[in-house]
Symmetry: C2
Subunit: 294 residues, 2 copies
């Protein structure tokens, strides 16, 4: 969607710099997602914890929040589903970002000089083949990927590099020595763009094609409950693109379900399916309706 998202311009048509909260340091993968979702001409507001990202948006200190919701290797970020349910901040867009790890050093430093590479242990663990191929380079853990670039740029020890995103290299002025050193190129994270709730509505329902709707529901603890819930979609030829069960805290054998489906809450079949689903569920919440991301 780039910079065309409604609200990027104020009432008199002047560009107004919106504020976007995300978790992590400047240059984090969430910042890459934010640029993809709302463009780069915004004020970034990095926060240490996911919950603060939600609080900041709920409290009106920022216009948008960008949060990861699932990763192709590591699964769904349940914590953020919990915050979506609690804060009721509607999803208005999604984006998929490929997690590309780059070896980054200060400008002027040569690859042959590198002896140590700092990054978050999860990122280091995704670049094991690089370290096997270059045994002279020792992996060293750091609290954050982008933070490791900041550290090597500020402290400038000899023979040292960081492993992080291209956005982190750009932000801190690092030079990319080797691009895409991760073992698995099928490492994608899906992010949601959230806005503050406008009045009593659960979010603006966009018009048009290629829309997606995300919802959460809980079923009573009876055999076949999920099957009956899915019938409301199957009977109306509504396509699902995600389903996931999650045990409910403190309630053995009761489950929360995450479902994504193709279509908008403005479509009559989906409206009917949701009304029908409401009869079968204890809790039903539409998390948002938004254009399908690429």
């Amino acid at each position: 969607m780039g910079r065309s998202w409604p609200g990027m311009y104020n009432a008199i048509g002047m560009a107004k710099r919106k504020r976007v909260a995300f978790q992590g340091e400047r240059g984090a993968f969430s910042e890459e997602a934010a640029v993809k979702l709302v463009g780069g001409d915004v004020v970034f507001d990095p926060r240490p914890r996911f919950e603060e990202v939600f609080k900041t948006l709920a409290g009106g200190q920022v216009d948008y929040a960008v949060v990861p919701i699932e990763n192709t290797l590591a699964g769904s970020v349940h914590e953020n589903y919990d915050h979506l349910l609690r804060y009721k901040l509607p999803i208005v867009a999604e984006a998929r970002v490929r997690i590309v790890h780059n070896l980054i050093a200060r400008p002027g430093v040569k690859f042959s000089e590198i002896r140590r590479a700092f990054s978050h242990p999860v990122a280091l663990g995704q670049c094991l083949r690089f370290f096997e191929k270059h045994p002279r380079i020792k992996s060293e853990s750091y609290y954050d990927t982008a933070g490791s670039v900041k550290m090597i740029m500020e402290e400038a020890p000899d023979g040292v590099a960081a492993i992080a995103s291209e956005a982190a290299a750009r932000f801190y002025g690092g030079h990319i020595l080797k691009r895409s050193i991760e073992d698995d190129r099928q490492n994608f994270t899906r992010f949601f763009l959230l806005i503050r709730r406008a009045g009593a509505r659960s979010g603006p329902a966009p018009r048009g094609k290629n829309l997606k709707t995300s919802l959460v529901f809980t079923t009573p603890n009876t055999p076949g409950a999920l099957f009956r819930c899915l019938s409301v979609f199957a009977l109306r030829d509504i396509n699902l693109t995600k389903i996931e069960s999650r045990p409910l805290r403190g309630k053995p054998w009761e489950y929360l379900f995450y479902v994504d489906l193709l279509g908008s809450v403005r479509d009559a079949p989906i409206r009917n399916a949701l009304r029908h689903l409401g009869e079968l569920t204890d809790l039903l919440q539409v998390l948002g309706c938004y254009p399908q991301g690429d």
Copy 2:
């Protein structure tokens, strides 16, 4: 199940120490799960990567492997589902381990002396309230939770502690200064115990009550495909305890499904349901049939 797992004793009834592979350092949460699953009288074989854990078991260097499959906050470990599909090592038991983080120091060191606490950034991020409450203690990232205990015991810097499991404190001889300093006590990881495949079978199917079966299947890309697949269980009153979709790599709009159900592949309704499911799916693999864990 403790130490009663069949195969813990050799042909003449003498206790024989089995070998168990897991990912991480000695004292990792996977080791806690292994002790719960096969008892402590085994030889532990820690490996740096999940894939090596599977290879080690497939190659016969160990008798068991213990791997995490899902966490209540962080979701399913898709990488290990991939390895289960590829290596076809049957699941024979499951266990749930609560992730408890403890502040650990060398014996004799007092809590009031601690100024820095080392651990994996994910563990540090789960103890933020502890650091807010004790601002004199600085959090420092390290590549591994258990490894941080090893480091403080060996290098013994002043005023330093580690954050890790009780098993890590025990193994490296550390002293627990504060127990259970994690923010969220609802942090559980579910682990699988795997054995090598005996002959052509997909694993030993246990008899008895309270059994669970885990399977993976893919559906053709047609509307309502999942609904039809779930009907094979609903029509036979078979209860599911997990369902999760995962997009298939390189095949947009095609999905892999993870399903856990209550019952054994020896039960006639489940045998029939699986035969029926085979008609509706492109791929269907039983990952194992095992007693329900606590």
